[in-house]
Symmetry: C2
Subunit: 141 residues, 2 copies
Amino acid sequence: MEDVEIRKAGLKVTVPRLKILEVLEKCGDQHVSAEDVYKILIQQGEEISLATIYRVLTQFETAQLVIRHNFEGGFAVFELNRGEHHDHILCVVCGKVVEFTDDVIEQRQLEIAKEMGFEIEDHSLVIYGRCNNPECKMGKA
Amino acid sequence: MEDVEIRKAGLKVTVPRLKILEVLEKCGDQHVSAEDVYKILIQQGEEISLATIYRVLTQFETAQLVIRHNFEGGFAVFELNRGEHHDHILCVVCGKVVEFTDDVIEQRQLEIAKEMGFEIEDHSLVIYGRCNNPECKMGKA
DNA sequence: ATGTATGCAAAACATTTGCACCTGG
DNA sequence: CCAGGTGCAAATGTTTTGCATACAT
């Protein structure tokens, strides 16, 4: 079923690519790093190299199949591109990520860009905070 | 004059720290990487090591003297913290950065966080686009 | 068959750290 | 004088790459 997505991207349908897509699908909203994908697959007994994961994720990004985020932390995380754009709010304590979109904000961004003489290509809004998990509400930074 | 800022941060006033602050001040709105600061100082004939720049920038960040951004590109950039929060709109072609704030957006973020059960600590909004420089308007991605 | 993909190991970056020496207060 | 700061070089962590082998079409 996901063979189509890969072929549409002009890539050969291979086991590593299918497995990586599977992991991303299973992870849903959760954002995973290349290392995460690697660990998950190794744990499942798959044979794959980290280099392949990086290569494939980059190809998927180019094909708009996945989105790469550079949140804080010095490493990139990926999520499946499910079509509609969304922003993120994430918990600085437990790392939980929630997606959202807001028409008011989207609209204002267009206006601001126009005022500044910019033509928007993309944007990234990340809100950092503490989620309502009791531990996170009070825990250390 | 900037001695005060450094002392307030509980740090000794040293030549490297003063020079780094100077560079950040001179750069104004422009965001610089650790490497940028290093190159600028070396070019000015200063003797300083990259390690010191990383150490000092991190200390300045802790002291809220500078702000660290993780835009796309795998490396961090820094800017002087001039007190008032602001967001960024940056040109994907020439790299120009313009700062802005928008009350409507700020307000909506608070509401969204509340809806999601989050207590906001910080947020980062970056709009990527092409600025009104003719080359950027049409140039390649 | 043949152009791509993959694995491995090495390289390339950005950033951090251990340690001996230097310096500001 | 002495805690703290700095330079250097080596270590780290993430991501990329060269090359020989393996695979999809």
